[in-house]
Amino acid sequence: MTGYLVRRLLATIPVLGLVAVFVFLLLQMTPGDPAVVIAGDYATTQQVEAIRQQLGLDRPMLEQLVSWLGRLAQGDLGHSIFSRLPVTSLIAQRIEPTLVLTLFTVVLSIAFALPLGVLAAYRAGSWVDRAVMGFAVLGFSTPVFVVGFLLVYVFALGLEWFPTQGYVPLAEGLFGCLRSLTLPAITLALLYAALLARVTRASMLEVLAEDYVRTAHAKGLAPQPVLVGHALKNAAVPIVTVIGVGIAALLGGVVVTETVFNIPGLGRLTADAIMRRDYPVVQGLILLFASVYVLVNLLVDLSYMLFDPRIRL
């Protein structure tokens, strides 16, 4: 087990290393001079030169790559071109809203999607099933900002139950914080819940056809313990896999949702940094998001053992 964990952690290094190289190359692939692109249309020659020096673009490419990877290994993500602050401290300032938002979204999606998926599979072919599957297709066909606008229009502008935008920090109370994030979380959750409901249904359908489920029903167990105890537990592996893979879509959605609702989190930081061509910040954030994705999926792999004792790590 420990050996496996160490091996898996080591195996994430090449993937993240590849992402780091890729992020590095992104800047080099820029058509024309990257320093000119970053400096923008109205920059003076001196400004362009300053950026070139700060990013080390005047040195040979291989040397740049080696020093970039070396600094990364020490946890140094460089400095923002605009605010001159270290990228790590910019991230630290903005991480709270995003963390609360994503956790809220994941909890909301699971609480909503799992029962729906189980029910749809249990009543396969019925109107419940059709309604749930209809909701699922609708969920990942509707762009995040369309859902966001609709919710703002109805629940914030119309009914005035929730604020239209902004974020109340955790320090000012959990209730106010969650209230300010309710609409954004529902917006984000729709896509994620649709994905989960669909895979839950598919996975449950497969398990419900197994002999041991029939046996459980035959020995007179009530439907609920059969569904949850026998079936759902065995259907869990594909479900948690999708929870992990869906993190990428979720993190992408965060960028859009935080822009729609004006939440000062990492997503907003990303969108702003990209618009300003603040490249060190963009690189740092892409790396951070990729690391989160890789780590969450590592946790997902480890969780397989909980659900299926046949899987030995």
């Binding site: 090449p14 993937v15 993240l16 590849l18 992402v19 890729f22 992104l26 800047l27 692939m29 820029t30 058509p31 990257p34 692109v37 396969a124 072919g125 297709v137 609708l138 990942f140 066909s141 509707t142 762009p143 995040v144 900002f145 369309v146 606008f149 609709l150 703002v152 229009y153 502008l157 359908l205 497969e206 056809a209 990428a248 879509a249 993190l251 992408g252 959605g253 960028v255 859009v256 822009t259 729609v260 990303t270 969108a271 990209i274 618009m275 061509r277 963009v282 954030l285 892409i286 998001f289 990729a290 994705y293 890789v294």
Partner: protein
Amino acid sequence: MMDHSAAAMAPSPVWRRMATGLQFLRRHPVILFGLVVLLASVAVALAAPYLLPDPKAINPIYRLRPPGEAFWFGTDHLGRSILSRSLHGTRISLAVGIMVAVAVTLAGVTIGLLSGFLRRFDSLMMRVMDGIMAIPGVLLAIALMSLFGSSLQNVVIAISIPEIPRMARLVRSAVLSIREQPYIDAAITNGTRLPRLLFCHVLPNTMAPVLVQATYVFASAMILEAVLSFLGAGTPPEVASWGNMMAEGRQYLQRAPWMAAFPGVMLAFLVLTVNVVGDAMRDVLDPRLAGKLK
């Protein structure tokens, strides 16, 4: 049976093929409905410039008019017709969707086919694909756009890159199972060279899942294009794309909700249609799953 013999009597193979096609559509109304909607959208996209007023025509006297007789969908903050702009937006969405689907399919199939047969290439390529997949697609696309600059061509490239790995993995996994089939051994024994083997024996057998995946890529490309435009990193702001219109509508959500509503609903409806067609095709092409759903 009747249809069968009628088809057999049809005058030429082309007619026979069309008859089978029609029969197929009659049996799968969802696909028929989806195709009708898609064809209608294509017709609207092609006809929009000839039938509707200029989507860029500014008319300050008529600004922020609600939907009514003169302007069916209302007007925006510059007095431009939302109807004209929304329908012109169909052009951008469809064009991006189709181009991305084609580009991703070509790239994904090429990488997948080669990965399935060449060990060295495989181990390298799959690591690269893992790396790309670890970056959220939206993020990668906006990062690429910020470097490339906004144009339709760059939007297509920026959206295609994050979509390629999934297609490549899908084709690769199909190829790996096809490779074990006896007919492949037979072809190799007969001295078939690799290019012919790949294109004539392997490729046709991967087409079913590829077609379904291409539909999903089509749908998600339209969403991603709108997201990019909405964030200001997509098509140039003066172009009437649905994402641009929604970004403008955001400032007027309270005073003029129709500005965001019409492009939003049209986008959601078109994406929904494509996804539903994709689902229906998957059910048809994957009898294992269709049997289970029965």
